[in-house]
């Protein structure tokens, strides 16, 4: 059975964490079309969270057409894992090269993360002012 | 609610029955020997013929054997027992619920709290009436030989026979239930109820009871000088009739004896009056409890 995790300190709402975990698992191949997700009760008891949160996550997955409920049987993955796009593979390669360069330049993990955050913020400011 | 009330009072019920059983055992032991002595000395015949004036020696012997056990020590101990029974049963009824916080469980079920209280009171009061009646019956049977000599108007008999014993228990119970509600503590409620009960009990017995009805006075002249030894507790009493309750004997000018007394025929009348007083007090206390519970808002204890 697929087991979810909850990160209490991440600042991300619990239901979104569940949705992300399913998306991630699909990308990595840990979940495949036809797999049954655990019941609302199983997740609520396992993670000790509000079952309404699980319902919300599953509804979101339905909305994104990643999963669907079959009455009386449970919730099942409906999407096939998205194939890795060739552009994504290129991006992945250049990212690895960049990380290697940052490491050689003496940047530690924290500095790298901060750098990424700043760059992201600048980019979103650009996008907003462009609108 | 019947089962709930029974289960909550189960240990008290067992204690009450044990007390009754112990009392019965004691009563059987002592009363049997009393009855044996009574018939052995043929006191019954003597009393029937002469109200006891013809067999003073036998009477004295009997009194020496059983007087202290049956009359004095018995009364001294048992005076407080009806009060204790009443407060021990009454104080925890509300006091314990409030003290331990279980009222939040008891009164949030589907039974409104006044209904809960009414059911509890009805059942426990009924049980106390039965207990009181049973104790009264045992003691009445136990004292029967002695009562033939002393009558049952004297306080050592009166307090335990007839209706008053049950009424004493109920009054202490009522006081303790009310105290439990007001003080929200079991032990404090027991103490707070017992004190007033005892005071009222003694006041009624020694100050009011002699005057429930206007006493009669018997004047006798004694030309040969008055025999001062005939007093309050003799057999027969100064009035010459066993069963009368002699209140006072006064000798004037060496020639006249005035005896104030309540005739034995008034025994049940007095029992009803006294029981009525204590039952009225019970009703007032329980009524106040129900009313206060209904009106009271919250218990932050």
């Amino acid at each position: 059975m697929f087991r979810f995790r909850l990160d209490g300190s991440s600042g991300v709402p619990p239901y979104l964490q569940l949705v992300h975990q399913v998306r991630q698992a699909l990308l990595l191949g840990y979940l495949q079309e036809g797999d049954r997700l655990p019941t609302v009760k199983e997740v609520a008891a396992d993670l000790v969270i509000n079952p309404n949160t699980v319902v919300k996550a599953y509804r979101q997955l339905e909305h994104e057409r990643l999963a669907g409920g079959r009455p009386g049987q449970g919730t099942f993955i409906t999407a096939a894992a998205a194939p890795v796009r060739p552009e994504a593979q290129d991006l992945r390669d250049s990212l690895e090269a960049w990380l290697r360069a940052a490491d050689e330049a003496g940047l530690d993990e924290e500095a790298v993360t901060a750098l990424i955050a700043v760059a992201r913020r600048d980019l979103s400011k650009e996008k907003e002012s462009a609108r | 609610m019947i089962w709930v009330s029974w289960r909550q009072h189960r240990s008290q019920a067992i204690a009450g029955l044990s007390l009754l059983a112990a009392l019965a055992v004691f009563a059987i032991l002592v009363s049997t020997s009393m009855r044996t002595a009574f018939s052995h000395d043929d006191l019954a015949a003597c009393l029937a013929r002469s109200e006891g004036t013809r067999c003073p020696a036998a009477i004295t012997a009997f009194m020496n054997s059983f007087g202290s056990v049956v009359n004095i020590s018995f009364w001294g101990v048992l005076l407080v027992v009806p009060g204790l029974i009443g407060v021990i049963v009454g104080a925890p009824l509300l006091g314990r619920e409030l003290e331990l916080g279980t009222w939040r469980l008891a009164w949030s079920q589907t039974v409104p709290r006044t209904q809960w209280l009414a059911a509890q009171l009805a059942l426990v009061t009924g049980a106390l009436v039965l207990l009181g009646a049973a104790i009264t019956a045992v003691i009445t049977w136990y004292r029967e030989p002695m009562d033939r000599l002393t009558g049952h108007f004297i306080n050592r008999a009166y307090d335990f026979e007839g209706l008053v014993l049950t009424a004493y228990i109920l009054c202490a119970f009522g006081f303790a239930v009310l105290a439990g509600l007001l003080l929200r503590r079991t032990v404090a409620a027991m103490v707070a109820a017992f004190g007033p009960w005892l005071v009222i009990r003694l006041v009624v017995e020694f100050m009011l009871r002699p005057r429930f009805q206007v006493p009669l006075t018997l004047r006798q002249s004694c030309p040969q000088g008055c025999n001062a030894t005939m007093g309050l507790d003799t057999v027969p009493p100064q009035t010459g009739h066993i069963g009368d309750w002699v209140l006072s004997v006064s000798i004037s000018a060496g020639k006249q004896v005035a005896t104030t007394y309540q005739p034995g025929s008034r025994f049940w009348h007095f029992q009803f009056i006294e029981a009525g007083i204590f039952v009225a007090l019970t009703a007032a206390a329980l009524g106040a409890t129900i009313w206060l519970l209904h009106r009271r808002a919250a218990w932050t204890a």
Binding site: G11, V40, V48, I49, P51, T53 | R7, T102, Q109, A298
Partner: protein
């Protein structure tokens, strides 16, 4: 937070009767108001948290909701029916687990259930027996010989077996050790998943609240400070980082809490559902607010403004009435 909006409309247009609605609820003790002007709503099926410091009035509010206490002013409606304290109809509608889960210590578990059966016409004995069986609690054991966690479980079982549609729990875990606490909440969440019940849980601990509740009510000094669906309330607030010199009047929305440093200030603002634009303001940054930050800010604000006329609570009307179905 368009995701949330999309989901809300997906829940369907049936407004449904809210599980709980209080209208200007208040309670006075002598001259002091323990609770005043409290208007809240909890939709059916929600797991709602009532948060506030000790002495805020949580127990007073809960006891008026249950029907143990008569309000001084205002009204309580459970599933549309007005409540009258200490009446059979009102008491039957709400299940209650009081603080410290009181039970009769001399009773066995089976006897506690017998009491429940005797005092509740709607008692489900099968449910009660099945629950304690699944939890490994023997029926013939006296309550005083159960552990604290087990006693809490028995109390919860009694409230569930009453089959009332609204369940109120007053600080159910504050007296339990951490392991018992986790097990109790795990069991409670499973019970919530199994049924269509509505839960209202009070707590004075803010941490870890986010995982349990989808509806939040913040109570402080006898007044409701914040109330509504948890996710929407988070979406209505932002944590702004602005230059120190920026005045409150220049900030969007309502300032809830402001912390000033040498050169910058951190301000928690309530902006409502309107999307926030921070570009055009040099040196401004808007970040989402965490659950704990949000609740703490409102509690601290309440303590500061205790003498002032309390501002109307930040409320979320409309979609709040929709039932949550599981």
């Amino acid at each position: 937070m368009t995701d949330t909006e999309g989901l809300m409309t997906q829940q369907g247009a049936d407004g449904g009767v809210p599980a709980l609605r209080t209208d200007r609820l208040g309670r006075r003790y002598g001259k002091v108001w323990g609770l005043r002007d409290c208007t809240i709503e909890v939709p059916a099926g929600a797991v709602a948290a009532l948060v506030g410091p000790n002495g805020a009035g949580k127990t007073t509010m809960l006891q008026m909701i249950i029907g143990l206490l008569e309000p001084t002013e205002g009204q309580v409606k459970v599933f549309g029916q007005a409540s009258r304290a200490n009446t059979t109809q009102t008491l039957a509608r709400v299940g209650y687990v009081a603080q410290d889960h009181p039970l009769y210590r001399d009773f066995t578990v089976a006897e506690m259930f017998r009491l429940g059966q005797a005092m509740n016409p709607s008692w489900d004995q099968k449910l009660a027996a099945a629950r304690v069986d699944a939890l490994g609690i023997p029926l013939n054991r006296k309550v005083r010989r159960l552990s604290g966690g087990q006693q809490a479980q028995v109390s919860l079982t009694m409230a569930l077996a009453k089959k009332a549609p609204l369940l109120v729990l007053d600080e159910p875990v504050s007296s339990l050790d951490p392991v018992a606490r986790l097990e109790f909440m795990r069991d409670l969440m499973a019970a919530a998943a199994d049924s269509a019940l509505t839960f209202l849980i009070s707590s004075h601990v803010v941490a870890e609240l986010e995982r349990f509740c989808d509806w939040l009510i913040v109570l402080c000094h006898g007044h409701v400070q914040l109330a509504g669906p948890a996710d929407d309330l988070l979406g209505d607030h932002r944590l702004l980082t602005v230059p120190r010199a920026t005045a409150d009047s220049e900030l969007p929305g309502t300032v809830i809490q402001r912390t000033d440093s040498d050169r910058h200030s951190t301000v928690l603002v309530h902006v409502g559902a309107v999307p926030l634009r921070v570009q055009g303001h040099a040196g401004w940054q808007a970040d989402p607010v965490s659950f704990e930050q949000l609740v703490m800010a409102y509690l601290q604000r309440a303590s500061l403004t205790i003498d002032a006329d309390p501002a109307p609570a930040a409320q979320r009307p409309g979609p709040s009435a929709k039932a949550v179905t599981r």
